[in-house]
């Protein structure tokens, strides 16, 4: 009996292994991190005037519902049902007057969740009440009130979307995040930031030089990067509160910036001061430097694991650039990528477990992800663009990357399984090396 169960387990493992390994070749969506595998079907009703009123649906009610839908669709985990399919709500005033929902009508069109709400506008202030229902159970999940003094529809919509996300997933999503990137005009580059919803592009630096690889501190206050402002590659940390740059490393030869440690106290660097490119840890307060890689090959692009225990990096010690993992003390180095002969730009999922990177397939760069053991490889992008520099969202559900085809330069966001691609920014200037911020308070 015991043996049979063991055999079953082994056979199951083998099947799982074969399924996963074949997914490298074909686009098969079996991904432990795949939220869209079970996108939440949700019906969002236009917001109604308050219960007592006899008015019909107002423009602001429709606009608010559209904004909420817009924000929810950005997360990539909602299947937003077309309101034309709604069976109820034919007589709007009736429904608004009494919140008697006939749930089977919503279940019939495939909705698992239903959002209803009211909106009133007094002078320039808007008051919104929203109620989220679980259709299958027929119960109210939350009822919340919001208001905005300056008629900020988008802001309220974002709060409603965030509450829906929190209720269904346990985290507030990425609505309060930014993406830093390198904006390059001919040979001059600088760092910019853009909001998750595509609004507010801001210039952060004014170096007009070669600038590469921005990395956020875990508190979102600092950006570390490499810049040639003073004629050679040196590492800077920008304090976003006061706009000051501090030079962190300017050793002879190459100084390249890696990621911050999860506690924000240390910074990973690549330096060539000892004769070849090695990985170092810099203690930010004391400026104490510790070398952790010891190999005659190129070691570059170090990135910390979310638990702080490991470092992923790129090395060409086996003849071509590949992704490796080592302990923070430099021990237990292990190669994790074996497909293809050019794999770089590792980025560690904040939820742990998986590493995204870019790899060369048939002459094109594509985004992949792989687990820490080097198993379960997934190819995430498949188009003809040069897809590079993956960076995970704080929830680990999405990945930002740059995508360049001909003269079109885009930064895109996709779900961790490669689905639901959204163009965040598209400009004539090159937009490269996106780096996803932590959540801002």
């Amino acid at each position: 009996m015991k043996i049979i169960s063991k055999v079953t387990v082994l056979v199951f493992c083998l099947c799982a292994y074969l399924t996963f390994s074949s997914s490298a070749a074909a686009k098969i969506y079996i991904d432990i991190d795949a939220p869209s595998f079970q996108q939440f079907p949700i019906a969002i009703c236009d917001l109604q005037p308050p219960t007592a009123s006899t008015e019909k649906t107002t423009e602001s009610g429709i606009a608010m519902a559209d904004e909420i839908k817009n924000y929810l669709s950005m997360t990539g985990i909602f299947n937003i049902l077309n309101k034309k399919s709604f069976l109820e709500d034919k007589d709007l005033s009736m429904v608004a007057a009494a919140e008697n929902i006939y749930f089977p009508n919503w279940a019939m069109i495939g909705a698992d969740y239903l959002l209803r709400g009211n909106i009133t506008k007094i002078n320039n202030e808007i008051f919104v009440e929203s109620r989220l229902y679980d259709v299958t159970r027929g119960e109210l999940l939350f009822s919340k009130k919001y208001n905005s003094k300056n008629n900020e529809l988008k802001k309220v919509a974002r709060m409603v979307a965030s509450d829906i996300l929190f209720t269904l997933t346990g985290d507030e999503g990425e609505f309060n995040t930014k993406i830093a990137f390198v904006s390059k005009n001919k040979s001059d580059a600088d760092i910019c930031t853009i909001n998750y919803d595509g609004s507010e592009i801001k210039n952060v630096t004014n170096h007009k030089s070669i600038v590469i690889g921005p990395r956020w501190s875990p508190d979102g206050r600092y950006l570390a990067f490499t810049s040639y402002r003073d004629g050679r590659p040196e590492i800077y940390v920008r304090d976003l509160r006061n706009g000051n740059d501090k030079k962190m490393a300017s050793f002879e030869g190459l100084n390249l910036c890696g990621s911050f440690s999860p506690d924000g106290n240390k910074l990973l660097l690549t330096l060539s001061k000892d004769g070849n490119e090695e990985i170092y840890i810099l203690e930010i307060d004391t400026m104490k430097l510790k070398r952790i890689s010891h190999n005659y090959s190129i070691d570059v692009s170090p990135t910390w694991s979310p638990d702080g225990g490991k470092i992923a990096f790129v090395s060409n010690r086996s003849g071509s650039p590949q992704i490796f993992i080592m302990d923070v003390d430099g021990n237990n180095t292990k190669r994790i990528t074996f497909e293809g002969n050019y794999n770089t730009s590792p980025s560690w999922s904040p939820r742990g477990g998986r590493i995204a990177y870019e790899g060369l397939v048939n002459g094109k760069f594509q985004i992949f992800s792989i687990d820490e053991e080097g198993n379960n490889l997934l190819q995430l992008t498949f188009d003809n663009a040069k897809n590079e520099y993956p960076s995970w969202s704080p929830s680990g559900r999405q990945i930002a990357y740059s995508s360049k085809i001909n003269s079109k330069n885009k930064i895109c966001i996709m779900n961790a399984n490669g689905l639901n691609i959204r163009v965040l920014i598209e400009r004539a200037n090159s937009s490269l090396m996106p780096s996803w911020s932590p959540r801002f308070k």
């Binding site: 690889g213 190459l254 390249l256 070691d299 650039p321 770089t344 730009s345 090396m433």
Partner: protein, 179 residues
């Protein structure tokens, strides 16, 4: 009981290695393609000569003026930093010029083609400059005379997007800092 388990483990391992071998076979084909592509490179690269455009760029980045036109660039194979046979000759000639000039400081600039990752190419460009430096030092140029800088893929000599352009762009340039 124990015997049965061993058998099962063996079977599973066999299946795994079968999958692995298939994987390896695919990988080899890719590597082969790459090699074929690379072998075309040297012919195109020999035509590549340093142009004044590059010298302007290096002067901008470093407070240096390049005075010696007879010091030539060397080229590299894709994703490689080893000194090619054709580059050895050039380096020998360059070293002779430098040794005659005595204590002149030189900056070796390492460059890559546009393919690949900006960050990795920064490291590769540095490595190319370092390899060229080592070669010159072996030929008698003083270490203290030479500094290295990598521009990665950021300052292509030829803005094209084909193997001709790439071959020219994978280079080490020697800027002699005049006094």
């Amino acid at each position: 009981m124990k015997k049965n388990m061993t058998l099962i483990v063996f079977l599973v391992l066999t299946a795994f290695s079968a999958a692995f071998i298939t994987g390896c076979a695919e990988k080899n084909t890719i590597v082969k393609d790459e090699t074929v592509q690379e072998q075309k490179a040297p012919a195109a690269e020999e035509q590549a000569a340093p142009t004044p455009v590059l010298q302007e760029q290096s002067a901008k980045a470093e407070p240096a003026t390049t005075t010696e036109v007879s010091i030539r660039d060397i080229n590299f194979d894709f994703d490689q930093s080893s000194i090619r046979p054709d580059a050895r000759e050039i380096l020998k000639a360059n070293a002779d010029i430098l040794l005659k000039k005595g204590a002149a400081k030189i900056t070796i600039e390492g460059y890559c083609d546009e393919r690949g990752t900006a960050e990795y190419n920064m490291a590769l460009g540095e490595r190319r400059a370092q390899e060229a430096k080592k070669y010159l030092v072996n030929l008698g140029v003083k270490t203290s005379q030479i500094i290295t800088i990598s521009y990665g893929e950021e300052r292509p000599l030829d803005p094209g997007h084909d193997e001709d352009a790439w071959a020219k762009n994978r280079r080490a340039h020697f800027a002699v800092n005049g006094k």
